[in-house]
C-alpha cells in the first residue's frame, strides 16, 4: 500500500492549492493537484456591460491582473473591430512588461528561493550592510524572545538540504531584501501608464487612456535602468548560482514534455509579429498552433457542465460534492494532449523556432555557462532559468518600447460597441498562455470563458485519466524525508502556480 503525503496548504504560491502524493519505496507513484478555491467569474460576467470585463477579469488575479486586462481588451478589440494606435500597443506592452518583471522577481526571491537558501544564516551575518544588520537584529531578538514561532514568517520551515555555503546564503538573503524593493519599483514603473497597480485603470479597448509625455518616458527609463541592472547583475546570476548548488534539479520535475504558447508583446506597427512568439512543441517537434483545438475536460473537476468543449461553448456549472472530482480546476487539453505553459514553454518555443535572435543567443550563452545542453531546460532549474532569462529579454525590450513612444500622439482610439459579435484575446501571462473568449448579444456579454496558465499546468486528470503537467512532473520523484517533502514543493513552485487565476 502506498503511503500518502498531503501538502495542504502549499504556501508561497498564489492562492489555495493542495498536493496529495502517493509514495512507494520513497518514490512518488501518484500525484494529485487540488485547486481549493472557486468564485465563479465566468457566471458573474454573463449579462454585464462588455466594458466591465477588463476591470472584472483583472480581479481574477492580483499578481498578474495586467495579463487578464490585456486578454480582455484584445478580445474586445477583436469583437469591436478596432485597430489600436502604435502608442497604445507600446503602452500595453510596457505595462504588461512591468508586470512580468515584478512577477518573475517575486516568484524567484520571495516564493521559490526559500526552498533552497538557508534563511537562518542571517544570524551569522557579520558585515556592515544596514538592512542586513537590521534583519539580523530582528531575527536574533525574535529567536531569544518568548514569542510563539519567533522570526515568522521566515521560520519555521521544512528542514532539509539547504545551501551550506553561508556566503551564498547571505548574498541571497541580501538580494531577497533588494528584490522586495525591485518588484515594488517594477509596479511603480507600470503605474506610470497603468494609473495604479495591482488592477490597472488605463487598459481599455482601443488602447491605453494615459498620455505619453517626455516626462513619463524619462520617469520610466530611470526606473527601468535600476531594474535592468538588478536583473542582469543580481537575478540572473543568483538563479545560476542556485542551479549550480542543486545540479540534481536539472533532472527533476521534467513533466509532460509538451509545450504551448500563444505569444505576447506584439510589434507596435505589425501586431502579428510578437517578441515572444506563439507555437507548439509536441514530442520535441514544432507544430502550428490552432486555437480551435483547445478543449476543457471536467471528469475530475467540480462541475457538472458538458466535458470536452471548446471555450467558445464552455460552461461553468459548479457541483462541489461531485463524486471523484478533486479539484476546482478544469483540465484543458490541446488536440487532446497534455501541455505545459509558462516561461519555459515560451523560451523553448522561441529557441526552437529561432525567430527571436536575442532568445537564441541568450539561451545558448547560458547553456554554455552552465555546461549543459537544451534538454536540461526541461526541469525545475530549467524553469527558473527560463523565467530569469525571459525577465531580461522583456526588461531589455521595455527600453526599446520607451524609445519608440511618440509624445503628444494618442494611445487610444475611440469606438462603439456592436450589439452582437464575438472576440478572442490570446496573450501570455507571466505564468503562461492566457485566453479570453467573449460573445456579445444586445450590447451585453452573452458568454465569457477564460482558460488560464495554471489551469493548464495544475490541471487535474482529464477524461482519459491522464494527469496534468505538475502531476506528471511529481511522478517518480524520490522523497528523502516524508515529513519534510522539500523535493515536491520545489517541483510545484518551479511552475509558479496561481490558483486564483486557474479556477477564477
Amino acid at each position: 500500500m502506498p503511503e500518502t503525503i498531503t501538502i495542504d496548504p502549499i504556501t508561497r504560491i498564489e492562492g489555495h492549492l493542495a498536493i496529495r502524493l502517493e509514495v512507494e519505496d520513497n518514490a512518488v507513484s501518484g500525484a494529485f493537484c487540488a485547486g481549493e478555491m472557486f468564485r465563479g467569474f465566468e457566471t458573474i460576467l454573463k449579462g454585464r456591460d462588455p466594458l466591465d470585463a477588463q476591470q472584472i477579469t483583472q480581479r481574477i488575479c492580483g499578481v498578474c491582473p495586467v495579463s487578464h486586462g490585456t486578454a480582455s481588451v484584445l478580445a474586445q478589440d477583436d469583437a469591436y473591430g478596432l485597430k489600436v494606435p502604435e502608442n497604445g500597443n507600446l503602452l500595453r506592452n510596457l505595462i504588461l512588461g512591468a508586470n512580468y518583471i515584478q512577477s518573475h522577481i517575486i516568484h524567484f526571491y520571495h516564493l521559490a528561493a526559500l526552498d533552497f537558501v538557508d534563511i537562518a544564516a542571517i544570524t551569522q551575518y557579520s558585515g556592515t550592510d544596514p538592512e542586513m544588520q537590521q534583519l539580523k537584529a530582528w531575527a536574533t531578538s525574535q529567536l531569544s524572545s518568548q514569542t510563539i514561532h519567533p522570526a515568522a514568517p521566515f521560520l519555521p520551515r521544512y528542514e532539509g538540504d539547504y545551501i551550506s555555503d553561508n556566503d551564498i546564503n547571505l548574498g541571497a538573503i541580501k538580494h531577497y531584501l533588494q528584490a522586495l524593493e525591485m518588484r515594488r519599483l517594477a509596479h511603480k514603473l507600470g503605474a506610470v501608464f497603468a494609473g495604479k497597480l495591482p488592477h490597472a485603470a488605463s487598459i481599455v479597448p482601443g488602447g491605453v487612456t494615459e498620455k505619453v509625455t517626455a516626462h513619463n518616458i524619462a520617469a520610466c527609463r530611470s526606473m527601468l535602468t535600476k531594474l535592468k541592472n538588478f536583473v542582469d547583475h543580481v537575478y540572473v546570476p543568483d538563479v545560476l548560482a542556485v542551479a549550480n548548488a542543486f545540479p540534481d534539479y536539472f533532472e527533476l520535475g521534467k513533466g509532460c514534455g509538451n509545450f504551448m504558447a500563444y505569444g505576447a508583446f506584439p510589434d507596435a506597427a505589425d501586431p502579428s509579429h510578437k517578441l515572444l512568439p506563439g507555437g507548439l512543441l509536441v514530442d520535441g517537434q514544432t507544430a502550428v498552433f490552432q486555437a480551435d483545438k483547445i478543449t476543457e475536460d471536467i471528469k475530475y473537476s467540480k462541475y457538472n457542465s458538458a466535458s470536452g468543449r471548446h471555450p467558445n461553448q464552455g460552461e461553468t456549472a459548479p457541483q462541489p460534492d461531485k463524486k471523484d472530482a478533486y479539484s476546482w480546476l478544469k483540465a484543458p487539453r490541446y488536440d487532446g494532449q497534455v501541455v505545459e505553459v509558462g516561461p519555459l514553454a515560451r523560451m523553448l518555443i522561441a529557441y526552437t523556432e529561432g525567430t527571436n535572435p536575442d532568445v537564441k543567443s541568450i539561451v545558448d550563452n547560458t547553456l554554455t555557462a552552465i555546461g549543459r545542453d537544451a534538454s536540461a531546460l526541461v526541469s525545475v532549474m530549467g524553469r527558473h532559468a527560463a523565467r530569469a532569462l525571459e525577465c531580461k529579454i522583456v526588461a531589455d525590450q521595455c527600453e526599446r518600447w520607451l524609445s519608440a513612444l511618440k509624445p503628444g500622439q494618442s494611445a487610444f482610439t475611440d469606438f462603439e460597441i456592436p450589439a452582437t459579435g464575438s472576440g478572442v484575446g490570446l496573450t501570455e501571462a507571466p505564468r503562461g498562455a492566457l485566453g479570453h473568449w467573449l460573445t456579445l448579444e444586445d450590447h451585453k456579454i452573452a458568454s465569457y470563458q477564460c482558460v488560464v496558465p495554471t489551469t493548464w499546468n495544475c490541471s487535474p486528470r482529464d477524461d482519459q485519466d491522464r494527469p496534468g503537467p505538475v502531476e506528471q512532473a511529481l511522478m517518480g520523484t524520490s522523497i528523502a524525508d516524508k515529513k519534510n517533502p522539500l523535493e515536491a514543493t520545489r517541483i510545484v513552485r518551479s511552475f509558479d502556480p496561481c490558483i486564483a487565476c486557474a479556477v477564477h
Binding site: 495542504d8 508561497r12 504560491i13 480581479r59 481574477i60 537584529a137 530582528w138 515568522a152 467540480k302
Partner: protein
C-alpha cells in the same frame, strides 16, 4: 539595540506620523509601538479567503515604510500564505498555535463563500469555519480590500457561491469583535499599514458609521478630484483619455469615499482619474455588484444616440 538603529527607528516613526497626519508629539509613542510590534507583542495573522492576493501585493507595494521595514519593524506577521516559509502541516501548526495564543490582530483578505463552503478550503478546513475560529480569538478583525469588507466581485450578482464580506459573515455567525473595514480593490498600502500601527499604539482609529477609518475615507473622491474644476465649469470628457470631468462617462468618484486622488498609488506615482480613466468605485460598498450598474456609461450613452457634448 544600537544608537544608529534607534535613530533609524525615529526616522521611520516620523514618516509614519506624517502618513497618519499626526503631530510631532506622537513620535515617541509610535517608536514604542514599532518596537513592541518587532518584539512580537502584537502579532498579525493574515488569512486569505476568496481572494486574488491583490491586497497582499498592494501591501508589498508600500513605498514608505518600505517592505523590509514593514515586516521587521512594523508588524510581527505570524502567518501569511504567500510569504510564510512554513508550508503544509507546518503552516497549519503555525496558524493553529497563533490562534490558540490569541491577542493577535486578524487581517482577512478575500470574501467568504457562505453558501458553498467547499469553494474555499485551507488545510482541509473550510474557510467558512477557519475565519470564525480565527476571529473569535482575535483582538480585532481588519477586513482588507473590497472582498473582505463587502464581498466585492465574488459577491456580485449571479455569483454561485453565496459570497459575502467578513463583517456580515461574522455577524451572521454571532461573532462580535471590533472590526475595521479597509475597502478598495486593492486596499491602498498606506490604509493597511497606517491602520495597523494606529490600532496597536493608539487603539482603534476613529471609524465612520460603516467601520472605515475616518483618516482615509472621510471624503469623496469627487471632492478631492484634480478635475473638480472641470466639473464646476461643466467641461465633460466625451470618452476615455479625454480632458475634462468623467462624470458623464459614469465616473463613480461622487459616491466613493477614499483619499486616492490626494494620496495617489504606487508611491505617489499615479491614480485612475489622473491616468485618463473614470473612477470605478472600487472602495464603495456596491463595487461591481450589479450588471445594471456598469463601471462606465459609454455603452449606454452610445446606444441612446446621446453621446455627451
Amino acid at each position: 539595540m544600537s544608537e544608529i538603529t534607534r535613530r533609524h527607528f525615529f526616522k521611520l516613526s516620523a514618516k509614519m506620523a506624517a502618513l497618519m497626519g499626526l503631530g510631532a508629539t506622537a513620535l515617541p509613542k509610535i517608536a514604542q509601538a514599532l518596537e513592541q510590534m518587532a518584539a512580537g507583542t502584537a502579532p498579525i495573522l493574515w488569512l486569505q479567503g476568496q481572494s486574488c492576493s491583490g491586497c497582499s501585493v498592494s501591501f508589498l507595494d508600500s513605498d514608505e515604510p518600505e517592505p523590509l521595514q514593514v515586516l521587521t519593524r512594523y508588524i510581527s506577521l505570524k502567518f501569511h500564505s504567500s510569504l510564510s516559509t512554513a508550508t503544509g502541516k507546518t503552516a497549519m501548526r503555525v496558524l493553529n498555535d497563533t490562534i490558540a495564543a490569541g491577542k493577535y490582530f486578524l487581517v482577512v483578505e478575500g470574501a467568504v463563500p457562505a453558501a458553498m463552503p467547499e469553494a474555499c478550503v485551507v488545510g482541509h478546513e473550510p474557510f467558512t469555519k477557519q475565519v470564525v475560529r480565527a476571529a473569535q480569538n482575535a483582538q480585532a478583525v481588519i477586513a482588507v480590500g473590497a472582498c473582505a469588507a463587502y464581498g466585492g466581485l465574488p459577491a456580485a450578482e449571479n455569483n454561485p457561491t453565496g459570497s459575502m464580506g467578513v463583517p456580515d459573515y461574522l455577524k451572521k455567525q454571532g461573532v462580535q469583535k471590533p472590526t475595521i473595514l479597509l475597502p478598495g480593490c486593492p486596499a491602498h498600502p498606506d490604509w493597511i499599514i497606517g491602520t495597523l500601527v494606529h490600532a496597536l499604539q493608539f487603539g482603534l482609529p476613529n471609524l465612520d458609521a460603516k467601520g472605515r477609518p475616518q483618516m482615509f475615507f472621510n471624503r469623496s473622491l469627487h471632492d478631492q478630484c484634480q478635475r473638480f474644476s472641470d466639473y464646476e465649469r461643466e467641461n465633460f470628457a466625451k470618452t476615455f483619455a479625454d480632458e475634462g470631468c468623467f462624470f458623464k462617462l459614469g465616473c463613480l468618484g461622487p459616491i466613493t469615499r477614499a483619499d486616492c486622488n490626494l494620496r495617489l498609488w504606487n508611491g505617489g506615482t499615479n491614480t485612475c482619474i489622473k491616468a485618463g480613466a473614470p473612477c470605478i468605485g472600487c472602495a464603495s460598498e456596491d463595487f461591481g455588484r450589479k450588471a445594471s450598474f456598469p463601471f462606465y456609461r459609454k455603452n449606454e450613452l452610445q446606444n441612446k444616440g446621446n453621446i455627451v457634448s
